[in-house]
Subunit: 297 residues, 2 copies
Amino acid sequence: MKTSLDCIPCFVRQALDAARHLSADMTFHERLLRDVLRWTSEMDLNHSPPVLGQRIHRHLRELTGNDDPYRQAKEDQNRMALELLPELEAMVASAADPLETAIRLAMAGNVIDLGAKSAVTPSQVRQSVQQALSEPFAGEAAALRQALSTAQSILYLADNAGEIVFDRLLIEQLSPPRVTLAVRGAPIINDATLADARATGLDALVAVIDNGSDAPGTVLEDCNEAFRRYYHEANLIIAKGQGNFETLSDAPDNIFFLFQAKCPVIAAHVGQPVGTHIMTRSTGPSGHNKETPHADD
Amino acid sequence: MKTSLDCIPCFVRQALDAARHLSADMTFHERLLRDVLRWTSEMDLNHSPPVLGQRIHRHLRELTGNDDPYRQAKEDQNRMALELLPELEAMVASAADPLETAIRLAMAGNVIDLGAKSAVTPSQVRQSVQQALSEPFAGEAAALRQALSTAQSILYLADNAGEIVFDRLLIEQLSPPRVTLAVRGAPIINDATLADARATGLDALVAVIDNGSDAPGTVLEDCNEAFRRYYHEANLIIAKGQGNFETLSDAPDNIFFLFQAKCPVIAAHVGQPVGTHIMTRSTGPSGHNKETPHADD
C-alpha cells in the first residue's frame, strides 16, 4: 500500500509525539518538528506508510541518540495489559466459543497503538474490549478456522507492546507448539520487541523470533533471513495491526490480518468506519505449494 | 494566543483540504502539500494560529490564483443552515428562555468549521444542536445578560458561513438596531464574508460591515479603520468561533466568546473536553470608559 497524502499530517503528529517522549525541552520539540517538516517535504510517497514512518523515526533517533524513546510507554502498556489478563482469560474460559472470543480480544488489544494516537488510556482499552466482544463477527472467520484446522506451522506477527498480552490469549487457542511469534527487530514507536515478549512472559509460551527490522510493519526486504524463512515456510500467517496490513495486504501469501481500523485512510481501504475491528485476508493468491492440504481434499 | 506545536499537523491537514477544494488533480495536491511542509518548517510560532493560517492560505491562493477555494462549500453550508432555520426559529419561539436558547443555538452553529475539520455533515450539525441544547449552561451567562441589559452598541463578530444563519437567531434576541455584524474582509477557509451575509439575508436584519482582513480570526492590526472604530466604540462584543478566541482572548475589551472547542489545544486552554460548547470572556480588564454604566450604578 502506497502512502496517502492524508498520512502526512499524521506523520507530523507522530514526530511531535516522539519528540515529547524523547525530552521535556520545548525548544527541542520545535527544532525536531521543523526538521521533520523539511524532511517530510521531500519524502518518496511510493513507499508504504510504515517505510516512511521507519525513516522518520530513524532520523529522530539519529538526531537525539536515544534509540528507544517509547521504552517507558511500552513498559506501562505491558503492565496495564497484564493487570487485565486474568479478567480476559476468564472471558475466554467461560466463552461458548473460546477461539472466537480470543480472536475478538486479540483485535481489541490493537487499540494500544501510539502510531495512530498520542496516548491510550485503560478506559479506551476496556471500551475496545467491550466493542470487539459485541461487534458483528464477520470477515474471514470461517476461512481462518479452516486454515487453522490444517496448518502445521503458524507465524504470528505481533504489533504493539501491551497488545501482545492480548495476543497471548489467541496463541493459547492455536496449539502453541506449531506457532512462532515474530516481533520487531529494534524499537520503533511502541511496537513490541523481544524485550516486550519477555516482559510479558510470551517467550515461555511460544517460540519468539525478531524480524531484524525497525519498520512499524513487515517490510520483507528489510527483515533478516531467519524471519524470511519462517515467513515463507509458514502454512498460515496471522498479522496484527495496521502496519502489518499496510505492508503485507497485497502479498501473495496466506495471511489473515486482525486489527482495529484507526485512521480514515485504512478505514476507507477496508470499507468500514474508523474504529471498527477488522479481520481480512491478503489479496494475493494464497498459499502456493506451501499450504497444507485441506482435511477434506 | 501563540501557536502551539500541536497546531502544525492541523495546518498541514488544512492545507491538504484546501488543495482538494482548489483542484481534483492529485499531482497538484502533492506539490502543494510539499510546498506547505517546507514553508511551515520556517514559520514564526509567536503569532496566533489564525495569523499563521492566514499566511498559509494566502500562499495557497497565490500559488493557484484561486481566491476563494471554499466558495462552493460555503454556499452549501448556507443552504443547509437555511433549511434548518424554520426548525431552529420554532425552538427559540417555544423556549421558556428564548435568549438562552438562541445563545445555545449560536454556539451549536459553530460546528460548521472547515478549519478544524475536513467536512461537516447535516447530521453533525443536528447533533451539535442537540448537544448545545442539553449541555449545562455555565460560562458567563449572567454577566452576558447584565452586559446586554445596558449596552447601547453591540459588535457581533461572525465566524463561518452556515453558522451565521444560527447567529441570526441570537441577533434577533439582541434588539438588532444596536447590533453591527462584522464578517471577514476576504475569503479564508469557510469563514463568512459579505457574500454570505447577503446570501443568508442577514444584511436585511442588521448592519453588516467587513473587517478588511483575510485572517480566520480578528487580527486588529490587519483590520480596516472602519472596523477598528466599531470595535473600540462598541459597549459589548460577541465573538464567535475559535479563531476569534485565539486572536482576542487576551484583549482588554468587553468580549464574550461563544464557540465549540474543536481541538485539544483550545480545549486544554479553556479546561473543557474537546467538543464542549464554550461561553467565556476576554481575560483583559473589561470595558474601560466605553462601557455603559450598569443600571444599578
